[in-house]
């Protein structure tokens, strides 16, 4: 918000040529690589499907109407539920991790580094690694069988649980880092002040630490929720393509089903979900003292 306002301040000045020339490269980039493709996608989502793929220049709302079909509604609902679930899990796991990082003293940088290291490997490779962990002859089952805790291998892979685990594992760093940033900024004397004023540990957390880390929580949730919403690899590989997320739908429409307009429409449905999440975040950030990221 603040950035946008200051850009306008630059270009509204009398010497507007100088202003425009400063923002022109950015504007050009955004128009060519963002706005135009997006407009093309949006346009084609209102067009009819071509017989052999591509689009036919005829206006129709059928692709959006099609989402009222229980089949697609259930995909939509599942996508939302899994994405929200993954975000919640990431928060539950990530918050204590972020707290530990923020209070790790001289080990702080090493630990932050360790959180980032998995991101050096492609998400695809990491998802395959999850398969090796969870399959019948995988590490987890082998260990449990060897120790005699179970007699038959557990069915881990190709379950909703596996998809959830994959999403949480994949996006956890995006939850941890923003929360870590906001906890690291927290002035420890605030906690001392609360303690002298009679606040026990639980009160110190809920009255001081939690509210002041909300910008980080919001940013982390956003950074987890958005990629989870659009993910298709995880449900494909770990879920065994048994239960689709909307990302899989989009992928299918553009590839095997060759229904580009419907794929585009599905993309915009995802995007509207993202838009809602971002709006909520911005609203929260503007209300929060000290701002977010």
């Amino acid at each position: 918000m603040r950035v946008r306002r200051s850009i306008f301040r630059v270009i509204n000045r009398r010497e507007s040529w100088a202003g425009w020339s400063q923002v022109a490269p950015t504007l050009l980039f955004l128009v060519v690589f963002f706005i135009v493709p997006l407009a093309m996608m949006f346009g084609s989502s209102w067009m009819a499907r071509g017989t052999y793929g591509g689009i036919e220049w005829r206006f129709t709302a059928e692709h959006y109407v099609r989402f009222a079909d229980p089949l697609y509604l259930s995909i939509l609902a599942r996508t939302l539920a899994w994405s929200l679930g993954a975000t919640l899990f990431c928060l539950l796991v990530g918050y204590p991790v972020a707290w530990t990082l923020a209070n790790a003293g001289r080990w702080k940088n090493v630990l932050v580094f360790l959180v980032i290291v998995p991101l050096w490997t492609s998400y695809l490779v990491r998802t395959f690694a999850m398969i090796f962990l969870m399959r019948d002859s995988g590490l987890i089952n082998t260990l449990l069988l060897k120790t005699g805790l179970i007699q038959e291998p557990l069915e881990l892979l190709y379950t909703p649980g596996a998809v959830m685990a994959g999403l949480v594992y994949g996006f956890l760093p995006f939850m941890v880092l923003p929360i870590y940033t906001s906890l690291e900024k927290l002035d420890p004397t605030l906690l001392e002040a609360a303690e002298v004023l009679g606040a026990r540990p639980a009160a110190r957390f809920w009255k001081v630490i939690w509210p002041l880390s909300l910008p980080g929580v919001a940013a982390g949730s956003l950074l987890t929720f958005i990629p989870a919403l659009g993910s298709y690899l995880t449900s494909d590989l770990l879920g065994g393509a048994k239960q689709m997320m909307i990302g899989n739908l989009v992928q299918n429409q553009f590839t095997t089903a060759r229904n580009w307009p419907f794929g585009a429409a599905a993309s915009f449905v995802v995007m509207s979900g993202v838009l809602v999440a971002v709006t909520l975040y911005l609203r929260m950030r503007d209300k929060a003292p000290g701002g977010g990221l």
Partner: protein, 372 residues
């Protein structure tokens, strides 16, 4: 148990971090209602001492006793001590309004909601903050002085028997600081709350305190009233840290009639007999600049001691003139004289003039050695 005679009592308290001693076996007691200052340079242990009163730090295991109102509190957490504290950075909760900040301690104590509004308003009145103007504002929207008042109200609203203040005026400009000094002093007298005040500003400590503990090197160098600290400093450190001091040393050559005669390279002078002053030993004394006298023209000066010296320079300080003189045989003294108006009655001396510097033997302070 009888009513405790001390609000705060330290008995041989020691605190070490690794191998570094932050506080070495200090003992002192603070009377209820007293305005007590911990004064010293940074790193002297005054903040650690305050933090041990608050409960953020604990004395070493077996490292003495901390008592609050007679009760041993060595291992009590801060929230179990019922104290008020004002932090140097104010430490206001940035996400809570002024009113909610002040209400925080009351909420933690389970005070009924109906009473909270009332007590918050009273606390704001106490520190002269207008509740209707400031109650709904967030701390980042306040000036330094206003934040200071909120911090004070937040600490006082729970009516603590002891209020801890950690350099609370450090971030304010001079004028506001002077005003707050006075207000704090008045609050202390009016509310009867014991104030424990940490500062490195000797003038602030002298102005506000009933008693001062001067700390140096993790120990207490001297405890006493401002006048005792200023006029009877016990060690060179105290003499140097509080105000300005001149130092002279010499050999004791005679002990007669309650006076010691001391031989200095520039001449002899006498001092009142201190306990332990033995002929043949060395003695260190301090003299305040304003206790030194220069003869004004031909007029004779009072004083029963003098040393010859040469004026090195005259420093114009406004209400005072500081005359630096070199004493024969080495050493320099500063003489503070009242400025009688340099335009109408200029100073009779200029650099290079030979003079005698006079003083009263009673104004000499015999010093002990600084502890090592």
């Amino acid at each position: 148990m009888s009513t405790p005679s001390f609000a705060v009592e330290f008995t041989r308290v020691r605190k070490t971090y690794g191998s570094r001693a932050a506080v070495k076996d200090i003992s002192f007691s603070i009377r209820p209602g007293e305005f007590f200052s911990l004064l010293g340079p940074s790193g002297c242990g005054k903040s650690t001492t305050l933090r041990m009163i608050a409960g953020f730090e604990q004395p070493d295991e077996g490292g003495g006793e901390v008592r609050l109102n007679g009760k041993l509190v060595n291992h009590l957490r801060p929230y179990e001590r019922d104290l008020g504290m004002v932090f140097q950075s104010y430490a206001l909760f940035p996400h809570l309004t002024v009113a909610r900040n002040i209400a925080f301690g009351l909420e933690q104590r389970g005070v009924p909601r109906a009473q909270i509004g009332d007590r918050v308003k009273k606390a704001m009145d106490l520190v002269q903050l207008d509740g209707t103007t400031f109650g709904d504002r967030l701390p980042p929207a306040l000036s330094g002085g206003q934040r200071q008042r909120v911090a004070l109200a937040r600490a006082l609203v729970v009516e603590p028997p002891i209020l801890l203040l950690d350099e609370p005026l450090g971030a304010l400009d001079l004028k506001l600081r002077k005003q707050m000094q006075q207000e704090l002093k008045e609050l202390n007298k009016r509310l009867g709350i014991t104030f424990v005040y940490v500062t490195h500003d000797q003038e602030e400590a002298l102005t506000m305190s009933d008693r001062i503990a001067v700390m140096a090197d993790a120990r207490i160098a001297q405890v006493g009233s401002p006048a005792e600290i200023y006029e009877r400093p016990r060690t060179p450190f105290v003499a140097r840290f509080i105000g300005e001091s001149n130092f002279l040393e010499g050999d004791i050559v005679a002990d007669a009639g309650g006076r010691l005669t001391v031989r200095h390279p520039a001449g002899t002078f006498t001092v009142p007999t201190p306990p332990g002053g033995v002929v043949g030993t060395r003695i260190h004394v301090a003299l305040r600049p304003e206790r030194l006298l220069l003869p004004d023209g031909d007029a004779a000066v009072e004083g029963d001691n003098s040393l010859p010296a040469t004026i090195s320079h005259v420093i114009y300080r406004g209400e005072m003139l500081h005359v630096r003189v070199a004493v024969a045989g080495g050493g320099e003294l500063v003489v503070a004289t009242r400025n009688e108006g340099q335009l109408r009655r200029p100073m009779a001396y200029k650099p290079g003039d030979a003079v005698r510097v006079w003083w009263h033997a009673e104004d000499v302070q015999v010093l002990e050695a600084d502890p090592t």
